[in-house]
């Protein structure tokens, strides 16, 4: 289970709020990280046979198998497309992200 983004986290606003040197509080997520993506994987749940190869191959660990349907955590998916490439059912499409 991924930790949730800590909404209470605030970046330092002056010199005295900086942590010392190259250290910081550990074990919290301060932001999502999905901005690298040009294409996003979309699972066609009708074609998916839940073989979990995508779950095995995903280098970011963003495919969730907790629920009945596989779910992609788009807050952290980098859009590398490995899941789509490995899927034997061709159940994952890489869909271009809307230009922001």
């Amino acid at each position: 289970m991924k930790p949730q983004v800590n909404q209470a986290f605030k970046l330092p606003t002056n010199q005295s709020e900086l942590s010392l040197g190259s250290s910081c509080v550990a074990g919290i997520l301060t932001a999502v990280n999905a901005g690298w993506r040009t294409f996003k994987p979309v699972i066609d749940q009708d074609k998916c046979i839940r073989c979990l190869l995508c779950w095995v191959y995903c280098p970011e660990g963003v495919i969730g198998k907790e629920n009945e349907k596989l779910e992609i955590d788009y807050d952290y998916c980098k859009g590398c497309g490995i899941c789509a490439h490995e899927c034997p059912q061709k159940a994952i499409d890489m869909v271009r992200e809307a230009v922001k």
Partner: protein, 394 residues
């Protein structure tokens, strides 16, 4: 009244006694001439259980500094020592330690850097590490080396500083020469230097990431933090030296130590053990009526800019003796001293003397020659700004 414990010790042995009195919990070191007898002595102390300490025999200087940093990251007091090639090999880790603000104390036995291969003393090694973010102190005697190690922990571990300290001893001329050294009582040192306590450590109850990457958005502010600590260190180095004087009866001038400068016309700026010879020459020249003096820079980082800026027209000429040279420019201490002197109203003429490279003796004759050149330049004679002194041939 406590018994005074005076012993006949080499510079390295004096440092080892000083380190023992500071009770570091981890020492990681790799032997290198002329530091070897120092770490040998320390390993004997640890083997004899003189103080509780983990002595890590590592495979290189890079590892020595990495292991020392790892131990410091656990919040314990640490020590290491090196010299020359070893210091250069540590370069990467020196920057890790200073950037992570771990108060490691290291002794560097100043030695030339290859090639030509040379095991003898000059300041090229430490000078090459000037920008590594470490405080750099230079000592003159075995006694001062021991005392400075004790002071170094107080400075490094001060919560306002948390910056590693490199204590520099001239290879052989200090590390291997014997002198009468007063070894203080453990209780007095314990009072002066309490156990190291810090929040800057790995702690399961207060988890932290260490040695993280910090991008352009906050990097400059982290560097400002390091610079602020260095600026504060100017005060702390002087304060700690003064407090040491009260407690132990010996102090060394803080950042700089003047000798017979009050009414001087010509002064020579030096680093390290050559100060003794320079003072002897000053005494001799004073008997002949020459108004000369010596300024010994004890702290190269932080550099005593304010001190030099305040000199204005106190002297007619100021020479800097460098046992190092930045090829293509001038001696390292000279360029910094000259920059610090560059203030409105400064009238002091300056010369740079390069001497003592690769362990060549700097003789009384050499020092006297430097003073005569300073006198000549202040009287309008032409002198090259930078000169090699004591060349085999001219």
């Amino acid at each position: 009244m406590t018994k005074i414990d005076k012993r006949f010790l080499s510079g390295n042995e004096a440092v080892a006694e000083g380190v023992r009195l500071c009770r570091p919990q981890v020492i990681a070191a790799y032997p290198i001439t002329p530091q070897t007898t120092l770490v040998e002595k320390l390993s004997e102390f640890v083997a004899d259980k003189e103080f509780p300490c983990e002595y890590m025999l590592v495979e290189s200087e890079h590892s020595a500094m990495a292991a020392t940093m790892g131990a410091s990251m656990m919040g314990v007091r640490t020590f290491t020592a090196t010299s020359s090639q070893g210091l250069l090999y540590m370069c990467e880790m020196l920057n890790f330690v200073s950037g992570s603000r771990f108060p490691v104390v290291m002794v560097n036995a100043n030695r030339s850097t290859a090639t030509p291969w040379n095991i003898f003393g000059d300041h090229r090694d430490a000078m090459a590490m000037r920008d590594s973010g470490w405080i750099q102190l230079y000592t003159e005697s075995g006694q001062e080396s021991m005392d400075t190690v004790i002071q170094a922990y107080r400075i490094a571990e001060d919560p306002r500083i948390l910056t590693p300290v490199m204590v520099n001893l001239d290879g052989f001329s200090l590390t291997h020469t014997y002198d009468l050294v007063e070894v203080p009582d453990q209780e007095v040192v314990d009072r002066f230097l309490p156990a190291y306590q810090t929040d800057n450590k790995l702690d399961l109850k207060n988890p932290k990431s260490q040695c993280i990457s910090i991008g352009p958005d906050f990097h400059t502010e982290i560097r400002l933090q390091q610079q602020d600590a260095m600026d504060m260190a100017k005060k702390v180095i002087a304060d700690v030296d003064a407090q040491f004087g009260k407690e132990f009866g010996r102090s060394y001038g803080g950042l700089v130590q003047e000798y017979r400068c009050d009414d001087a016309d010509y002064v020579l700026v030096v680093l390290g053990s050559v100060a003794g010879v320079a003072r002897t020459v000053v005494d001799e020249l004073r008997k002949q009526g020459e108004k000369v003096g010596v300024i010994r820079v004890r702290s190269l980082r932080p550099f005593p800019n304010e001190y030099f800026a305040s000199l204005k027209n106190r002297f007619k000429a100021l020479g800097v003796l460098d046992r190092n040279l930045s090829f293509g420019n001038q001696g390292g201490v000279y360029t910094e001293t000259k920059a610090a002197l560059f203030t409105p109203g400064n009238m002091i003429q300056t010369l740079n003397f390069i001497a003592g490279l690769g362990g060549r003796d700097i003789t009384k004759v050499n020092i006297a020659e430097m003073f005569s050149k300073l006198k000549a330049v202040s009287e309008g004679e032409a002198e090259n700004e930078m000169q090699f002194i004591g060349l085999r041939w001219s």
